[in-house]
Symmetry: C2
Subunit: 341 residues, 2 copies
Amino acid sequence: MKIIVDAMGGDFAPLAPVKGALLAHERYGTEIILTGRTEDILRSVRECGREELPAGVEIVNAEQVVEICDDPSTAFKQKKDSSLTVGLNLLRDGQADGFVCAGSTGALLAGATLVVKRIRGLRRAALSPTIPTATGKAVLIDCGANAECTVEYLLQFAYLGSYYAEKVLGVERPRVGLLNIGAEESKGDELRRETYRKLKEAGAAGHLNFVGNVEAKEAMMGACDVIVSDGYSGNIMLKSIEGTGKLMAKELKAVLMKSAGTKLAALLLKSALTGFKKMLDPNEVGGTALLGISRPVVKAHGSSNEVAFCNAIRQAAEVAQSGIIADIEANIDKMRISRED
Amino acid sequence: MKIIVDAMGGDFAPLAPVKGALLAHERYGTEIILTGRTEDILRSVRECGREELPAGVEIVNAEQVVEICDDPSTAFKQKKDSSLTVGLNLLRDGQADGFVCAGSTGALLAGATLVVKRIRGLRRAALSPTIPTATGKAVLIDCGANAECTVEYLLQFAYLGSYYAEKVLGVERPRVGLLNIGAEESKGDELRRETYRKLKEAGAAGHLNFVGNVEAKEAMMGACDVIVSDGYSGNIMLKSIEGTGKLMAKELKAVLMKSAGTKLAALLLKSALTGFKKMLDPNEVGGTALLGISRPVVKAHGSSNEVAFCNAIRQAAEVAQSGIIADIEANIDKMRISRED
């Protein structure tokens, strides 16, 4: 298993991606290609206390870096010698099994779509993070790649999410829910009502385990394993969860600092609270799978530390091992709505 | 100040609305009209330890009750002698200054729109709860009344929310943000981009304090006082906040029960945690204003207890006192997009 890591992407590049890559190599034996400026990468390697790269970790040089100010839709083309574009070219050419990048989401999405290409027959690729729920976790698809969606996009997201939950997360017969503002078939806008009908058909045919509309609150309580959404609403959901988590963590901290008694309580809770804090920590969750691309691509959080990179690399390897892409290719006919062709 | 309370609406009716009404009467001197079955209401009054109603609290009898199984869009018409319809008729006829109801949101929305009517010139009424933020609170408008919106609806919601934040919540020059999936003007779907342009114009003309697009996370961190959204996405945001709050409260409880040490910590934190728990408790937040109706209407949460009813009654009185409806009427011309007329 060999994973390409964009060593120049993310808030703490190149140190965090390099550290994360070395960690993944050490822990899981994953082979790594780091793309980026060779001397910058080697400096980071030395900062990790190593004289040289271990066998199985190599550098492919790229002089340019895609910046936040670059136009996301054309950056991969304008900067042909960037760590992003060089990495995507290697992936397309079969030099590795997956790609991890913590740089601009828009540039990665455009680059992956146009360089590596989507799986034939899929209309759009989708960002598919897992979110914590009361019973474990759920895949939220899409959460920002496609602000405007058609019924066919959403139908395809349902399949992509279901395969991901089953093959990568190991959920049997994943329960697929349509994110909506009420449980009844008639709820939501025209897009939701028509998608509901298509998902119901797919459920009746035994292609998906469709459990109906789910409200955001019920989804978080564990009502389904796959939450199907357009990218606009999915992003609102994801960011609301993050915002509430941040707000509550802040309030809890204030509570714990209130008095001598609460400070003592904070000491008593120190280790027990670790898991609580981890629950909404993006570094722990790993990266966001970019589903629908013909090879595994994982978007790591911009603020990823080395643990986050290590998790994202493991995740890319799991996607590659799962065979999900071959499964989607083999079942693509179920995911088409002919009259929209 | 006289407020009508639907005594038959909500999970704990008639006891909770009756108790809440008596509490509001006692605390704030608010005069109350309770609508519903006289004998049921009087039984609840006796359960509160009173022989009869105090002066200033009266009953207007209504034999029917709108149930959850009734069609929301026609319930107020089908059940003319319901506590909902009788209450709305009293409000329309000027018998009181506001109306509080914890029954079906859809039935209240349809009834208020068709019996009491919208403010002339407004396209739609909107559900406008306040949500907690890191710096206080913000009005989220709309959060479920209108799943499908036009640019004009959103422009009008911006004004409604701004007047509400200023006149009822007491915020000076409320910062109005458009809920979106990124800060740039080009973000989101066509509806968002066109609404952005209209809000920017309104800001430039000095009619609104428009601060641009806001992401859900930044909104929760206190980036604005009014969050403008279509009802579908706003509902996703509200329910995601509620779900995350519930999930984190559950996890925290598990943390506090983990061992003898954490149980001791829980004891030490008992009073300090009260405020933390209240933050996301719908009973504390009060009701959701139904903005755009020509008289004050407040939707109380279905699970409202007496404190929640008392808060919702105070809120309806505050809306009535604020003069917000007259302000909106006087400024309606700014809120129209002529070519959509």
